[in-house]
Symmetry: C2
Subunit: 592 residues, 2 copies
């Protein structure tokens, strides 16, 4: 079926039921960002491969609402699909709701699949559409009848991690969670978010590409902890370990029945952003629902000393892999055929040689010249560009190791840079340094670090259309909340032990893109009469190319930061290299 044919088939079902609009989000029953193949509904329906967006289909319009990171990619991928690109003003905002409210008449029906819509999103739809006389039909899957050979749910094995990796036994984590439930006066707590469950039970798997999580739900009370999961994913030993600690294992699809049979008068805590509306609807009306962020989301964001130390070790491994990769690239470009896709394979090869490597933490973004201007570019056989000894090459990649998750962006000069390329590179670096070396009082939030990072770019009337940084998991999802560095006024304090990326950029469409990204750890700084100050430790340990730097654009403290940082990389990575590699790295790390 072509995308046009699929669209026709969906519209035919809509007409048959008098539905005016159908919403297809990028989601699954766990409200995940990375999706199992079974839930890649947007790709199936429209061909768009980006990880954020929403399709809205009406009788006379079919659109993909997505954000600036995907404008160019969506424009290309949607060509001929029947879907048009609608540019979001604010990343992740459900701006299509207002669009629907303005276009639909009272009495119109809006349909969606409640398994793919978060509780919070369903409530927004209700608040904004129902008062206009619009009816919501929340249990329609118009893809199922037309999706031949729709993939099954994954059944990859799962395993438990030891305390030497995680730093805290799951029994202890359960204890902390139960204390939080008691404080919230919640009798029950439903967790659907896969990373929260992986963290809570010290459980990992490979059900979802790049995210070492396991498809499951959990229902926790003071007396019981039920993990709804395909039990056979676990070894006998791990099953015993869980059961011995009082964790009951039930089949994945029994969660609905468990929710439907909660005792009358009881209360349940659910995170409206991380549970689907379908499960919410299963709750008896006599159960009172407390809506708040999952306690595990806040717990998980604060890395413990073992996680931090493991992450530090992992970052050196990742730095070794990247050093070897960039040395190889410098020595090979212009001499052999290297393309964006082969480069991605090569990076993976160097990482895979490191002990404890599990897989990529996200799809590698290898963008040469103009492709670097697409912040979430993924090379395809059609787009795959050959690298030459000329211009800028952007590599944004990361690994899952059993001892941590990495995510790093570097841009290197392959030769012959223009003055503008050098200026832009230096300004991005300047922003990265200001953000990643910031000192700030306790209580500072991500939007403040975002402004500090952008200022050097704003000073030169430049900017970027994505956030400055995101939380990062410990051998878990590369995007992890609750904290984020962006302009959205999210009232989450940056706390000690949080890991976040700092990744400003400058993108010149059809020319080049620059982004430089380090992961940083919040650590204590000075405490004085003005209060308690925090700063960041650089977790990422990988050389920053100095060859494009215009030193006169940097302030003295920024030059010092850059030189100190590159020397730190040489000192930490060097001992793991052979002599030739070490010499190459030390030469590259030379102070400017």
């Amino acid at each position: 079926m072509t995308y046009q044919e699929k669209l026709t088939a969906i519209r035919s079902q809509m007409r048959g039921e008098g539905v005016s609009a159908y919403i297809i989000p990028s989601s699954d029953p766990h409200i995940s960002e990375y999706l199992p193949d079974r839930y890649k509904c947007i790709y199936f329906t429209s061909g768009f491969t980006g990880s954020a967006g929403t399709l809205v289909i009406t009788d006379d319009f079919a659109g993909l609402w997505t954000d600036a990171r995907y404008f160019v990619q969506a424009g290309e991928q949607l060509a001929g699909s029947g879907f048009e690109l609608v540019k979001l003003k604010v990343q992740h905002a459900p701006e299509y709701i207002q669009w629907l409210a303005e276009r639909l008449a009272p009495g119109a029906k809006v349909a969606f699949d409640a398994r793919l819509i978060s509780v919070g999103l369903a409530q927004l739809l209700e608040q904004q559409l129902v008062p206009q006389g619009i009816e919501l039909v929340s249990d329609r899957d118009y893809l199922e009848p037309i999706w031949l050979n729709r993939p099954y749910l994954p059944d990859a094995p799962a395993y438990l991690l030891g305390e030497e990796i995680t730093g805290e036994a799951f029994e202890n984590k359960l204890g902390r969670l139960r204390a939080a439930l008691a404080t919230s006066k919640a009798d029950y707590h439903l967790i659907s978010s896969l990373d929260d469950m992986a963290w809570l039970f010290n459980m990992r798997g490979s059900d979802v590409k790049c995210n070492p999580v396991v498809l499951s739900f959990a229902l926790i009370s003071q007396d019981a902890a039920i993990l709804f999961i395909d039990t056979l994913k676990f070894s006998e030993a791990d099953q015993d370990k869980l059961r011995n600690a009082g964790v009951e294992l039930q089949a994945y699809d029994l969660v609905e029945r468990a929710l439907a049979s909660l005792p009358a008068g009881s209360s349940i805590l659910i995170d409206p952003k991380r549970n689907c509306f379908a499960l919410y609807k299963e709750l008896p009306t006599s159960v009172s629902v407390l809506q708040d962020t999952n306690p595990t989301t806040s717990f998980k964001a604060i890395k413990n000393a073992v996680e931090v130390e493991n992450t530090r070790i992992t970052m050196v491994k990742d730095g070794v892999a990247l050093t070897r990769f960039f040395k190889w690239l410098e020595e090979s470009v212009g001499k052999e055929t290297i393309t964006e896709m082969s480069v991605a394979d090569k990076v993976l090869e160097f990482r895979a040689a490191q002990e404890g490597f599990v897989g990529e933490s996200f799809d590698t973004i290898a963008g040469y010249k103009a492709h670097g201007a697409l912040p979430h570019y993924k090379a395809t056989p059609e787009s795959d560009a050959a690298l030459k000894a000329d211009g800028l090459f952007l590599l944004d990649s990361g690994g899952q190791y059993q001892t941590g998750t990495t995510d790093i962006t570097r841009v290197v000069s392959l030769g012959n840079l223009t003055e503008e390329e050098k200026t832009d590179y230096t300004l991005v670096l300047k922003g990265m340094i200001e953000g990643a070396s910031a000192r700030f009082p306790k209580g500072t939030r991500g939007y403040q670090i975002d402004a500090i990072t952008r200022k050097p770019l704003w000073d030169h009337a430049r900017n970027y259309g994505h956030g400055t940084g995101h939380g990062v998991g410990f051998f878990l999802n590369v995007h992890e909340g609750p904290h984020v560095f962006n302009a959205t006024p999210t009232p989450i304090d940056i706390e000690l032990g949080m890991i976040t990326s700092v990744e400003p950029g400058i993108y010149r469409p059809e020319q080049y893109g620059i982004r430089i990204e380090n992961l940083v750890l919040t650590v204590p700084d000075e405490t004085n009469a003005f209060g308690e100050f925090y700063t960041f430790e650089q977790l990422t340990i990988a050389l920053i190319d100095t060859s494009p730097v215009k030193k006169q654009l940097l302030e003295a403290h920024q030059v010092k930061w850059l030189n100190d940082y590159n020397q730190l990389v040489a000192d930490r990575v060097g001992p793991h290299l052979n002599e030739e590699e070490r010499a190459w790295l030390q030469a590259k790390a030379k102070a400017i």
Copy 2:
């Protein structure tokens, strides 16, 4: 009656009615910041003179919840009153609600006077206390029986301003407001906020100290505009002008009846933050209430070309007055007796000599040495300190002119500064320059400018406990919304034509305080492939003392900004000075 006796009398009434807690906010039926004497309830009850705070009285505790600006002052003023200082973590946050929720048992009653509580605050109280089984008693004024000779409402004259001052006829403003009401589908609109009404009707008066507003309410619909006001405040000519334009004048206290008799099924727009709960309760239940920011608040914040040009002219007048003041201070300190109170009189004298001067825009803050560390210090006969040729002197003052409102803080060295004083002064100046000269993309919010302003202080592990800046009216209130520069995540864009203060500070209790403040106007800057950029024009035109500056702490662009700014001041103010004054100013403005 002593404060202790008043407290006893209030508690006696509480006990008589079984009330567990009584709340006294700093407010009036217009939810004003500056209050008519009749509503200075906190001062009457506790002796605290600050402009922000809340008293909460229970059987065994009486507290004043206020923010960091007032900690020292409140500590002193509350001594012996029976009230204890409770330090707010977040400025203006009603943190006492949580405090009550934790302490009161189900069945307890919390009382307040609904005329002094905003609709929004009443809703917060309901949301957070009623689910705990606490009852709200919203019509209790326990002060009335014990307040002998309580002041009457003011009856100062009011007058209309011409278009040469305001740039827009009130008929036109009413038209814009009605268009907004039509868009919101609101049949009626109640305005209680005095500055909104002053702006809307181009009306000024002197009912409230420092705020040139007139006590009134307004009820607007597509067909009618009723101004509830003591009609006799206006001249016959102004009454005619209003009536001829279709504005109906009714007595101030008829507003309640008008609200109570709104037609069934109609809708009314009210701003929950700027109307009192007592009026809200008058609305028939059949009237649907739309809660949103007053459209006039957004309109008023964007100054038109006439207001901007008038403000520019006003700022030069203010600069002339301040130049003469600081010259007089420099020449007189150490030679004659000068105290904080006499200094405030002197500043007023120099401003009063300027054409169009109406009065102070707020109580002058003249803080010598340690008193400068109290951000909202007001000298009293007991505290009044004599200035000597030594240390730092902080002056935060402003004027109401018929052509604009000023608000400026300068700190000058009177001699013998320590290295720390010089460092702190330079860092505050650095923050002020970074904030007030920022370039930023359209869509930037106040919390981003706040971070940029604070960064130079954070870099040196210093900070300040108040916001960075506030909106300023045009011949209106010196604090004006909706925009603000502070760390609170307020989602209000900084728009072209807005006037805001930039006023970072460093305070060392019992030593000294430094704050430097300019008012800035948002103006267009470059537009390019990265979008539309804005920047700030310096509206304030008054010398910044360079004698305490440590040049090595400033970056080159900051030194240039400072030198250019002081030269601009000399160029603009100079022509209005006599030769001797001009020579003094030019010498002071000399580049560093």
